[in-house]
Symmetry: C2
Subunit: 411 residues, 2 copies
């Protein structure tokens, strides 16, 4: 939908492996940072949308995750809506918060996403991803992925979908093989995505991985699900991100010096459509551009849902950064690298900044906001004015279960 | 908040024990019934808010519960927000849907709540309730409840909080003992609530329990958590409820013959406040009346969150149906029985209609809507024009974690 809301403040923790911190700790840090960044007080917040995907399965904390985090920083009483949409949970929280502000329901609201995924029981952690598909069809989905891997001549390890890895890496591996077969995309091009994002991540103090990798290093890394090596797969992670959103009226009252305006945010769910036809990501992107009155060529930068390297290449195409089938060529051209025509995932993306599921969509907003405000440090995109966040989650039928595309602009 | 939205259609399944039906089956039935009741087509729905509380813990289906249910009835593509707020999840979905329609974001939306709680592993089911408190404090909360039961001279069985029952029944038992000590409320008065609601439930074809019980039968039933006998505790249950909400403009276009208008809906979260001081339920009720421009004496009927019999008596007071401490006298007077001054929980309430957690708040809206429209059959409140839904959930600090109070009126 068309939006008219302003990002007044952003906050996030570093992403990574934090065995000693739970969601109250990281969520509290992000919330307090965002409110301070907005120059506001906790009491100014009128409502909160809180996102988390895995605490229920991993810690038993269902139902009132937001209240638990907010009480930890002394913020009770306000309306709290706990939202979920798998890996798109945080952009859903942001979408809802922005819609309420745009519509005049509230003047000052908070969207916060938090995730804690590092636990000793790794099998349980990987099992949590299975809640993001239709669990009644889990056996068939896993069998289909295994059959796909087997028919492609994948290595033995690649055949056990969902074992020792998120089953989504098997879904992405199948998509990668499909893209290679249909368009001639190469494994080297997937490796270019990971190498590029590792360069970006090396410039981001909050990234989970700071090490820059060459294409050769990416290709030589352990195989996770053929053809994806480890750096082509986003890691599990702990962390939180929060954004304070205000109305136009309130933004004037606050006298924001570098206002970032939410121009559009489109949330939709997946459906069963013929393979190769426009799907969820295409529809959301097209609508987000229409409602913002902008097009792909207007973008200064993109934070893309690069949960895997092929997802970034496919995402280029569905956003419209290049024609269908030419995503591999786009990354090879250098256009999506810092300094290129349209830098993608300057934060390091999900691959390198990290992917604490319920925080990811808001971390994208943090990155685009800081870029537009010219405070992205070593990874600053010169003259950044318009950015797009692309956040998808789960799987249903032939598509992602949820997708949210958001366009932010200076002004 | 002040609302201006219309209930265009309602649908719900019978509540009860349905070992052969999952949430796709019950959710699908409720959704199709609500859309048909509105005289609309599935394609007319612009967005959906879906609530569920326990599927993650009980079936592993996290993250995309709404998409899974909606796909089952051929409804993809639309924006879906999965919301949670423990036992107040469904009223949260309704609140969000109404706010979006009131604000002009959408014209036609769906709120649906669904829960599946009957599984063979009963310990796992009761364990799911523990996700509705701060799980980091679970041990202290359980120890506190056990100490409270022990100091009151409760039976042995009552001392093991959360064993063989929802831990919320221990929380309610402690509240019941506190109300008895402070105000002289009696166990017989709690039994009167259950007997009254069993009468109401006996008139509701969709109720989980249709048997009418006497006060004596309630008192003679097995003890669950002193002083609460089984009929003083809401059961677990399976079922779904759905409501189609439309804008004023759309309500005129549809030519609704018996329009039910949402006048206000206030959602808030609990906070730490001194015992005995006004808390979440009081604040939400007061605001809901203010924003609707109405008071307790304007109400024709109430659907109250009677998750336990004492909860109904305490609820009378926090809504303002009677002064603090006089709730026991109110039920004893017969005022809250069908035919009385202000009938409460004419559906049978959570105690008898049943309490499939994520569906409850919307089932309340279904009941009030049908009463205002004069189609409540044998339990019809003559001349019903204004009704209040009171739905609370979870526990945090000294209060519920979330509460939503909604006022609906003819017109």
């Amino acid at each position: 939908m068309k939006m008219n809301a302003y990002v007044a403040g952003v906050g996030m923790t570093s992403f990574g492996r934090m065995m000693d911190r739970g969601m109250k700790s990281t969520g509290g840090e992000a919330i307090e940072a965002a409110i301070a960044d907005a120059g506001l007080e906790k009491a100014d917040i009128q409502a909160a949308w809180m996102s988390n995907a895995a605490a229920g399965v991993l810690t038993g904390q269902e139902c009132i995750r937001g209240q638990v985090v907010l009480r930890g920083v002394g913020m009770g009483e306000l309306p709290v809506v706990n939202v979920e949409n798998a890996c798109a949970s945080a952009s859903t929280a942001f979408n809802q918060a922005c819609a309420m502000v745009t519509a005049g329901v509230y003047d000052v609201v908070l969207a916060c996403g938090v995730e804690k995924m590092y636990f000793a029981d790794r099998a349980k952690v990987f099992g949590a991803f299975m809640g993001a598909v239709d669990v009644d069809q889990l056996k068939e989905i896993l069998a289909g992925l295994q059959a796909s891997a087997a028919s492609s001549g994948a290595t033995e390890a690649s055949k056990s979908a969902g074992q020792n890895r998120s089953m989504f890496m098997d879904i992405y591996a199948a998509a990668a093989r499909g893209h290679m077969a249909r368009y001639g995309t190469t494994v080297e091009q997937f490796a270019m995505v990971s190498a590029k994002n590792s360069h970006h991540g090396s410039l981001n103090p909050r990234a989970q991985f700071r090490e820059a990798m060459t294409i050769e290093q990416v290709l030589a890394s352990p195989m996770i699900a053929e053809p994806l090596t480890r750096p082509m797969c986003s890691p599990i992670g702990d962390g939180a991100a929060a954004v304070v959103i205000v109305s136009e009226r309130k933004s004037r009252e606050l006298g924001l010096t570098a206002p970032v305006r939410v121009r559009s945010s489109v949330l939709r769910s997946g459906w069963d459509h013929p393979s190769g036809s426009d799907g969820l990501s295409e529809v959301c992107s097209r609508e987000a551009f229409e409602e913002a009155g902008l097009g792909p060529s207007d973008l200064s930068l993109v934070e893309l849902h690069d949960a895997s390297a092929p997802a970034e290449i496919i995402g280029y195409e569905s956003i419209g950064l290049c024609p269908k089938g030419e995503g591999g060529g786009l990354v090879a051209s250098g256009a999506t690298r810092l300094g290129g025509r349209i830098p993608v995932s300057t934060s390091g993306g999900l691959l390198r900044k990290g992917h604490p599921i319920g925080a990811t969509g808001l971390a994208q907003v943090v990155e685009i906001t800081e870029q537009i405000q010219g405070r992205a440090g070593a990874r600053q995109v010169a003259g950044a004015r318009i950015g797009l966040c692309h956040n998808g989650g789960g799987n249903i039928g032939t598509d992602a279960a949820a997708q949210c595309v958001t366009i932010l602009a200076a002004g």
